[in-house]
Subunit: 147 residues, 2 copies
DNA sequence: ATAAAAGTTAAAGTTAACTTTAAGTCAAGC
DNA sequence: GCTTGACTTAAAGTTAACTTTAACTTTTAT
């Protein structure tokens, strides 16, 4: 099967301009052309799914480009590509770890606001967060007097 | 306790320039000044920890600023602040969900490369990923002939 | 055969989140 | 009292990742 740039763009949820930008940056290796017009094939689509994975887990475009270049150089770069993938795995694991931590803080704030809304004021739940020492959060003075 | 901008910067792992930028953008409400010089207090430090949480979970600075402004307006904005926090919780949950998904793809690639390295070539593991249908990844032609 | 839709490029513009620079003010040690 | 180092501001510069524009070509539909 082969696809136009617009079809691929729709499948990936990006614009054609973005795909052309990726191509220019060397992120789309060996895309076929007919009369100068890009013709995407299944292998391109498969690669785009990997690209999407790397992009959405915050691998910088420069690093993705490096990965593409290594792939083009064949088997002698297998180890280096493996290392890049390992590095990316670490990034993702660390991000998940951090997000889970911050999620707890946010959930605490959720409870805090629910209580405050129930009570009608923040003042009423002022010294309530004491049960969660690291998080008696943002009691900003609210500029009660003086600006 | 009170702290200089440098002390706070070190505690937060950012530069003083970044803190001044945040202040200029209205992200640091009511920071005390002595002779024009910022003096951070414990309440500021506590807020900075929340700011850090929101920032590191990709809340845009504009939205954080909105949150700060709502906080200054007092109890009548409790519901709106709660809604912002809820929205942020959803963002985090969705990000964790996605990251876990992509983590699986990356782990698959890790295994793929380990096998290829063991075998000495990608060709040797060419039709191996069939066990993982959505992921028989990036077999880029490697420009074997013709560029 | 022609008009509209979809493709192309190079280059300039945008946005977010900082960072750097320049020019100056304030506090501490000698 | 003067130099050194930390503080200040406003404004310009940077970087990543696109997006938009302008001018042009190719494909598709009538």
């Amino acid at each position: 099967m082969s696809y136009s740039i617009k079809e691929i763009a729709d499948m990936m949820g990006v614009t054609t301009a973005t795909l052309r930008y990726y191509d220019k940056e060397g992120l789309l290796p060996n895309v076929k052309r007919v009369n100068g017009i890009r013709v995407f094939e299944d292998k391109d689509f498969k690669w785009l799914r990997v690209l999407n994975c790397l992009k959405n887990t915050n691998m910088p475009i420069k690093e993705i480009k490096r990965y593409v270049e290594l792939s083009k150089e064949g088997d002698k770069t297998l180890q280096e590509r493996y290392d890049l993938i390992l590095k990316q795995e670490k990034r993702i694991l660390e991000d998940i770890r951090q997000f889970n931590h911050y999620l707890k803080e946010i959930e605490f704030k959720k409870t805090y606001y629910r209580e405050a809304i129930r009570a009608g004021s923040e003042e009423a739940v002022k010294d309530w967060p004491s049960s969660y020492p690291s998080l008696d959060l943002d009691k900003i003075p609210s500029s009660k007097k003086g600006k």
